[in-house]
């Protein structure tokens, strides 16, 4: 399996996402100007501050040439994972419903939070246990949607760090192949640097891609 990680100018957690994905497969860095996804099996849009998050988080990145390819890839059923800033980009690009607003505190928050996996029937959570401990770090992470949405992750009771609607931490599209979340699973893959609960997301992707190859 090969996982592509998009790098925009201003991406910060791109290398972290590469390191995490390397634990389950091969990886490929995708430059924001690329018009080709190099045949990867899944795409990660990583965290950070793409284009400085100027104007609005994710608002400029959605116009990057590589995003046209990502949108096409998603439409064809390809797996797309957006983490933090990547989640914001996927919402801006219309791949996921809703939007991310400023935290109710109006401050950046870093915190290790507990998450309830409320939908295991996705390519990203099929291998996940019911409860995950993963860090969040963002200023613009309060999820809001006026329409019904397929919720995959919720902050556990008293763990909502940003005022998200209905404690929503991660959502996917109807088809289930595009997943966005504010917590950072790539920062929870090594006992040395914290928890290892985030690995379940990457292992799920690997299992799903493995099934596709066999099928």
């Amino acid at each position: 399996m090969r996982v592509g990680v998009v790098r925009f100018p201003g991406s910060c957690d791109d290398v972290d996402a590469l390191l995490a994905a390397e634990r389950v497969g091969q990886t490929e860095l995708l430059w924001h100007k690329d018009r080709d996804l190099h045949g990867v099996d899944a795409v990660i849009v990583p965290g950070g501050f793409s284009y400085g998050d100027y104007l609005r988080a994710g608002a400029i990145a959605r116009f990057a040439p590589v995003m046209e390819e990502v949108v096409e890839f998603a439409a064809a059923g390809g797996l797309v994972l957006g983490i933090c800033n990547g989640f914001q980009v996927l919402c801006e690009a219309g791949l996921l419903p809703g939007a991310l607003l400023r935290n109710t505190s109006l401050k950046f928050v870093f915190r290790q939070v507990d998450l309830d996996v409320v939908d295991h029937d996705t390519p990203f959570t099929r291998e996940a246990p019911d409860r995950l401990s993963i860090p969040v770090k963002h200023t613009t992470g309060r999820y809001y949607t006026p329409e019904p949405v397929r919720v995959v992750l919720r902050y556990a009771t008293n763990h909502n760090p940003n005022g998200s609607q209905d404690d929503i931490a991660g959502v996917c599209n109807e088809a289930g192949n595009v997943f966005g979340l504010m917590p950072h699973p790539e920062h929870a893959v090594d006992p040395l640097t914290g928890s290892t609960d985030g690995l379940a997301i990457f292992e799920s992707i690997k299992a799903h891609v493995g099934d596709l190859v066999q099928a």
Binding site: G10, C12, V15, D53, V109, F110, K137, L192, T193
Partner: protein, 716 residues
């Protein structure tokens, strides 16, 4: 030659300094030349009141790769890797505009580190504000400075892994914002800033040049333009972490490809200081044509372009045949790159405007000829700093004292602050704040570096030499608690006006104390910064040397922790800990002035204790280690309970002051009874209460609410 104009005085030069300039130049300086000279001869650039003192600091050691004088110092950490680091102040800008002042302080220190070829991997901060319980202004400065630090560090993807904050009335008008950056580089990528190779091209990288930070020269500005109010000019720089992120990646790629001869960041005094220092170190001359410099405002005068402090800019020297390749890399990273001049053999720094010479100065006059001044130190006869109104009654019970200390702004949990920083980006952080006494960052070969930053102005005020000595000990003790051995240190000397004898005495004594400590511990100083004139009509700030120390541990997975780990572990007190009430947090809360003698230091015994703790953390004989700092052993025990979520039963040695302090000398450790060997046992980890025999008995929950609420309440 006689002094005919007073313009130099308005720019901060004395008459005798101006006489030296006239002599060196053989004529009156032109406007652009005077602007450049006034900045290069300022305290900030020339260190004219501190340079002679700083020569006292030991700078050599077996691990040192780059010592003081470069953008940042560097030490060898093995495996072909170097760690570069430096601490710098951004005090005055932060007092004017705390968010941008603190943000650009971080931006500046990051540039210092990638200017030597290292990727910034960690930021730490040392902050000082007035009394936040009394001063709304200090709460405002705290809130916005913290937000500014987070904004820059978080956005550029460098983790903020540690720091310290103290609140004292003497910082009310002069808050301190010291930022330290640590970077990692393959040894062969380290680069120096000396310009070399006549005919080589000077390329300016990064942001457009605007009128930011021309405060120092604003008098000249109004004189030249003959209109407007100089005060209205923007003098605080505005940070753009996105621009710096691209600049950082761009510079590292340029270095990886071997395209640069030298590299330097643009900090205080902008192009003037970075270019002249590059020329001085390389013993060459430079020509810069200001009409080539890309401007944000079209009508800038040559002197404005030369002294602008616009952020996110670097200057590099490139061989002519490589300029094309450099511009290509810069285009990839969407970073502006413009050839603006060249290296010459003249030994002169010439400023041109569309080919016409508008300034022409010997490099030596700019960089080397500023006179150095000896201080005239005199010890004060009476304490310089008054006590603060008492907040603790003398009849308070020990439990009340402990809870009050834990909730006091200087000791309360820093969580409301560090939750605003990203400590994990780059996936190296093995110990985050409140997990251990020092931050720990993993290296690729399984080893790790540890970093700590410390300072305590109250104790330095009591006895500047002993207090500064203690700061270094405290840093080394923090490193020992995670199992790390010191490799080198950086310092920032924050003091009042050195022309005043009492401040001069504080400065001289503190430098002496730092030097003695560095010699005792065999830890060299690889770089630093001096911030003087931190003074208001109410007097000088507390003498505030801040020390940042980097150490190494062989196995990242064995890094020590601060919290008690297991029920039933035995607790021991290690080290020649001789606590005293003088200069303690408790003394402060009781309204006593910071004055009196600090405890005597038995250096061999301290080194022995630090070595034992270090080696027993490395061998995993200890389950936790915590150095006893502010608030004494009672607070240290409470902190171990809080970090581990476990209680303890302790009997203190006869006569030991539970709240007395003796920094850097004592440790609270725990582990198996057999593993602790001959360490003096004082108790056991058990239950959910902290019980100190004959003194206090408080639930961990109660400790928790005091500790976590202290700062939270002030920040909301």
């Amino acid at each position: 030659m006689s002094v005919t104009s007073s313009r130099h005085r308005e720019l901060g030069l004395t008459d005798s300094e101006y006489e030296l300039i006239l002599e060196g130049l053989g004529r009156e300086p032109r406007d652009v030349e005077l602007a450049m000279l006034s900045l290069m001869w300022s305290e900030h650039c020339a260190y004219k009141h501190s340079k002679r003192l700083l020569r006292r600091l030991p700078t050599e050691g077996r691990h040192v790769l780059v010592g003081p004088g470069e953008n940042a110092g560097a030490v060898d950490v093995g495996g072909g890797l170097a760690v570069a680091f430096k601490v710098e102040s951004h005090n005055h800008p932060s007092a004017v505009e705390p968010f941008q002042g603190a943000a650009t302080g971080v931006g500046g220190i990051l540039r210092d580190v990638f200017a030597v070829g290292a990727r910034p991997i960690a930021v730490l901060d040392s902050l000082r504000f007035g009394d936040v319980t009394q001063s709304a202004r200090s709460r405002y400065l705290l809130e916005h400075a913290v937000a500014g630090i987070g904004h820059y560090g978080n956005s550029i993807g460098v983790p903020t892994v540690g720091g310290e904050i103290y609140f004292e009335p003497s910082y009310e008008q002069n808050c301190l914002i010291n930022a330290m950056c640590v970077g990692l580089a393959p040894r062969e990528r380290l680069i120096r800033s000396a310009a070399a190779g006549p005919g080589n091209v000077l390329v300016l990288l990064g942001a457009l040049t605007g009128r930011d930070g021309i405060g120092g020269a604003s008098v000249l500005a109004s004189a030249e333009l003959g209109e407007g109010d100089a005060d209205k000019r923007p003098s605080v720089q505005i940070g753009d972490p996105f621009a710096e992120k691209k600049l950082l990646e761009c510079c590292l790629e340029l270095l990886d490809r071997g395209l640069l001869v030298s590299l330097q960041d643009l900090g205080a005094a902008g192009l003037t200081s970075s270019a002249s220092e590059m020329a001085s170190k390389g013993e060459v001359g430079l020509d810069i044509d200001v009409s080539s410099v890309p401007l944000r405002e079209a009508d800038m005068e040559p002197f404005e372009i030369m002294v602008s402090e616009s952020q996110e800019r670097m200057l590099c020297v490139v061989e002519p045949e490589r300029v094309g390749a450099v511009l290509e890399v810069c285009e990839h990273w969407e970073t502006l790159a413009t050839p603006i001049g060249q290296v010459t053999t003249s030994g002169r720094f010439r400023i041109l405007k569309r080919g016409e010479v508008v300034g022409d100065l010997p490099v030596g006059l700019l960089v080397d000829d500023c006179p150095l001044y000896d201080l005239e130190p005199a010890a004060p006869e009476a304490p310089l700093y008054p006590g603060t109104p008492p907040v603790l009654a003398s009849q308070a019970t020990p439990a009340e004292v402990l809870l009050t200390l834990l909730a006091s702004p200087n000791l309360a949990s820093r969580r409301p602050v560090f939750e605003q920083y990203d400590p994990v980006v780059q996936s190296r952080t093995v110990r985050r704040p409140e997990q251990a006494d020092a931050a720990v960052l993993a290296l690729p070969d399984g080893s790790a570096i540890a970093v700590s930053i410390d300072g305590n102005g109250r104790r330095v005020a009591c006895e500047p030499r002993a207090g500064a000595f203690e700061v270094v000990l405290e840093c080394a003790a923090n490193l020992a608690c995670v199992g790390a051995e010191p490799l080198g240190l950086t310092n920032c000397l924050n003091f009042g006006n050195p022309e005043k004898p009492h401040v001069a005495w504080q400065l001289k004594e503190a430098v002496e104390g730092l030097s003695e400590a560095c010699e005792s511990l065999d830890v060299p100083v690889v770089g630093g910064n001096v911030s003087l004139y931190n003074e208001s009509p109410d007097g000088p700030i507390l003498p505030s040397p801040v020390v940042g120390m980097v150490g190494k541990l062989p196995d990242a997975s064995r890094a020590g922790r601060l919290g008690f780990a297991r029920e039933g572990d035995v607790i021991a007190l290690v080290g020649p800990f001789q606590p005293a009430h003088t200069g303690s947090e408790l003394a402060k809360l009781q309204g006593q002035a910071p004055a009196g003698r600090l405890p005597f230091k038995d250096v061999p015994a301290i080194l022995d204790a630090q070595e034992k703790v270090r080696s027993m953390i490395r061998s995993q004989a200890l389950q936790n280690a915590h150095d006893i700092a502010e608030g004494g052993i009672a607070v240290a025990l409470a902190e171990c309970c809080l970090a581990g979520g476990l209680g303890a039963r302790v009997a203190l040695p006869e006569g030991l002051d539970p709240f007395g302090e003796d920094l850097g000398t004592g440790f609270v450790v725990s582990g198996d009874p057999e593993a602790l060997g001959d360490f003096p046992v004082i108790g056991r980890v058990e239950g959910k209460r902290l019980e100190i025999d004959g003194l206090l008995d408080v639930s961990v929950d109660k400790l928790q609410s005091a500790h976590s609420g202290g700062l939270d309440a002030l920040l909301r």
